[in-house]
């Protein structure tokens, strides 16, 4: 029984990480219909920059912020310099973003090399907490990760539901042409949403590098999990990303604990099931 609770807890923490990684991806798709295949590369970039900053300054918080900002800047550049020029041509954008992700991955391999990095945790987060009732140790960073995802989730919900910027994004998701006709600077909005998505990915990268580790290949793993999460949850909504992340995270951990050989199958079984029964995703709206 203890194992079951622990595995559930593991599933929740993994879900928190997947949520952080996938929301940005989902937002960008929701607004611009761009499948940003460079999302994983942005995440890895954030992780590497975060690692370097933590090494240089010794401050974990600074590392998370720096990782987020670096990826935000890279995301904005990608939209401003490349994807923005082919707005509306989704296939071309997707292909271009695949190219960008390969180029970024090689540049990062060049700079940071092929070894595995782990961000050194601050004292407060590095140990384990004794869990009440269960009587086993549990890594503090993973508990912090859940709290972090909750805070980010609530902040995002507030940004999108309660602020003017959020209202513009929501309007853009519903009817981009009308938003443009009303005179909103759609190019600039797109760039800021790309930066926001990049920032979320970058912070997720630093958190992933703290709780797990990062190495070449991490970008593709998180891109794939983000894709699965938004397909399951539904594109373009924060709630969908949260639900999708929860399902995928739990499925992966239960699979690993109870049927390790077939662990990977569960995740994709869920995806296939959702695609068959509700192709727009659990919380997604059907395309008009």
């Amino acid at each position: 029984m203890t194992l079951f609770f622990i595995v559930t807890l593991n599933g929740l923490t993994l879900a928190a990480l997947y949520f952080l990684a996938a929301t940005g991806f989902s937002l960008i798709f929701g607004l611009m219909r761009t499948v940003n295949m460079a999302h994983g590369a942005l995440l890895l970039l954030g992780g590497y920059v975060g690692f370097s900053v933590v090494e240089a300054t010794g401050s974990w918080g600074l590392g998370v912020i720096a990782g987020g900002l670096a990826a935000a800047l890279a995301g904005a550049l990608v939209q401003f310099g490349i994807l923005g020029w082919m707005q509306g041509d989704e296939l071309r954008q997707t292909l271009a973003s695949i190219a960008i992700s390969i180029i970024m991955a090689d540049l990062m391999l060049w700079h940071w090399g092929g070894i595995t990095y782990q961000v050194t945790l601050p004292e407060l987060l590095s140990g384990g907490q004794r869990l009440p009732l269960l009587g086993v140790g549990y890594a503090s960073i993973r508990l912090a990760l859940m709290a972090f995802a909750l805070v980010i989730g609530v902040a995002l919900w507030f940004l999108i539901q309660k602020t003017r910027f959020g209202a513009v994004i929501r309007a853009g998701v519903d009817d981009q042409a009308m938003l443009r006709a009303l005179g909103f600077p759609i190019k600039r909005i797109f760039i800021s949403v790309f930066a926001l998505g990049g920032m979320l990915a970058g912070m997720a990268g630093v958190v992933a590098a703290s709780a797990l580790s990062i190495a070449p290949g991490t970008d593709l793993q998180f891109l794939l999990s983000s894709l699965v999460v938004v397909i399951v949850g539904g594109m373009g909504s924060v709630g969908g990303a949260a639900l999708g992340a929860l399902l995928v995270g739990l499925a992966e951990q239960y699979g690993l604990a109870y049927a390790p050989t077939y662990g990977a199958v569960f995740t994709f079984a869920i995806m296939v099931l959702v695609l068959a029964v509700r192709p727009q995703g659990l919380l997604g709206r059907a395309e008009k």
Binding site: T2, L3, I6, V7, N10, T13, L14, F51, E55, L109, W110, G113, G114, I115, T116, Y117, Q118, V119, T120, L121, S126, G127, G128, V136, G137, Y138, A139, S140, I141, R142, A208, L212, S213, A215, P216, G217, T218, Q221, E252, Q253, Y254, L256, A257, P260, T261, G263, A264
Partner: protein, 412 residues
């Protein structure tokens, strides 16, 4: 700087490609030059180049040309690389590949190209040479089981571990390493109550961590690269304190050099490996010096990959020398020379092949230690010479154990 070098080497290649003579011997090197294994893979190529350089770049008046192809550590990419090398570049020999399942794929492919000789790189699956062997596939090195010889005995008799849980990646190389460990360990009286097989590239091991039985004395970790780092970190974070036994790749310098707080767990961990960077032997020191001179931007010492690609290519150079570069008649004379070849390896032993064209090798039992500057290294606990593929057992008895798998061997 690297861009400059790359450009220069591309220019150099095109410049030298044109006047290639008919008698030139082309060696295709297949290694992993992309993704997670790119660092180790590049070292493999260095090893091959070093052997050619030491032979003076020519054998019996025939220039040796190296053509490099990258695979991504998957069997089909290795097969594609080999096909391209054979059909487009028309290479005479192939040195490679790097990882276990790739080796099995190239062994199968070699049967369709009987005129090309394949020399294994660092791939160490058992069945590459043991079962269903191919006439033109040679391995001047051991398999994963040979690389663990000495460790099971050491763990039981010297360290007193009576039961061990195993965490490993779910493919042929870890199965083979587990066999090498368990053959001795179970024979000595140890037990392995549980094995956990996880997918390659798994990130989150925490659920495995909590499934490990509390009453084992140690954990044998058969994970490489980032997987090892992730597992050890999460094990430490969950408050785990069982001693670790490492596989040949778990204690590789690329893991020991990785950054993170997981390192404390590894200090003192025993392991088996054919390559120890700090080995004191005279031949090894000479090898390291030669490597450092040829590749100032390489590792501080050759890795297991550089070492094995070097031995294979060196074997090719020596055999070519013996036949004066003669590769006629489907390379018959050359292969006969390879089969009977004996030479001193960088670890000081005598390399020779068994009837399946698999190397009889030296193996080390090592232990991770902390150097004065805080970095981690491996030091030699003991050397086991002349390890054959049957691990010193009777051939029939060994073959009767059957192919390795998730559940074979077993001693719960």
């Amino acid at each position: 700087m690297n861009i400059l070098k790359t450009t220069a080497s591309i220019l150099a290649l095109t410049a030298f490609a044109a006047p290639a003579m008919a008698d030139d011997i082309k060696i295709g090197v297949i290694s992993v030059l992309e993704g997670a294994f790119a660092g180790p893979g590049m070292d493999g190529v260095r090893g091959a180049k070093l052997a050619v350089q030491e032979a003076g770049g020519a054998v019996g008046g025939n220039e040796i040309e190296i053509v490099t192809m990258s695979s991504d550590a998957s069997p089909d990419s290795a097969v594609n690389a080999a096909r391209k090398l054979i059909e487009q570049d028309e290479v005479d020999l192939i040195v490679g590949p790097l990882s276990g399942s790739e080796g099995l794929a190239l062994r199968d492919l070699s049967k369709s190209y009987p005129d090309v000789t394949f020399l294994n790189g660092s791939s160490a699956s058992q069945d590459t040479t043991l079962r269903d062997a191919s006439e033109n596939f040679f391995r001047f090195g051991g398999d994963g089981a040979q690389w663990m010889v000495g460790v099971g005995d050491y763990a039981f008799n010297d360290l007193g571990y009576e039961s061990v849980a195993i965490v490993g990646e779910d493919y042929s190389f870890p199965y083979t390493q587990v066999l090498g460990f368990m053959a001795e360990y179970c024979e000595a009286g140890g037990r392995v109550p549980e094995k956990f097989w996880t997918p390659i590239g798994n990130k989150d091991y925490s659920s495995i961590v909590y499934s490990i039985p509390q009453d084992v004395d140690a954990i044998f970790v058969v994970l490489g690269g980032a997987d090892a780092v992730n597992f050890l970190t999460q094990y430490a974070q969950a408050g785990g304190d069982k001693p670790i036994i490492g596989s040949s790749v778990t204690i590789d310098q690329s893991v020991l050099d990785s950054q993170g707080p997981f390192k404390d767990l590894l200090v003192g961990a025993p392991s088996g490996t054919p390559t120890v960077s700090n080995f004191e032997g005279e031949e090894w020191q000479a090898f390291v010096a030669s490597y450092n001179e040829a590749f100032p931007d390489g590792f501080s010492a050759p890795s297991i990959f550089g070492h094995h690609y070097y031995m294979s290519t060196k074997a090719a150079m020596l055999a070519l020398e013996e036949v004066g570069g003669d590769l006629s008649d489907g390379q018959e004379a050359f292969r006969a020379a390879l089969t009977d070849l004996e030479f001193v390896t960088p670890t000081g032993g005598t390399m020779r092949l068994d009837e399946n064209r698999n190397g009889i090798v030296d193996n080390f039992v090592t232990e991770v230690f902390e150097r004065e500057d805080g970095t981690l290294g491996n030091r030699v606990v003991k050397v086991v010479r002349d390890v054959d593929q049957y691990l010193g057992m009777d051939k029939d008895e060994f073959m009767a154990m059957g192919p390795v798998s998730r559940d074979n061997p077993s001693c719960p």
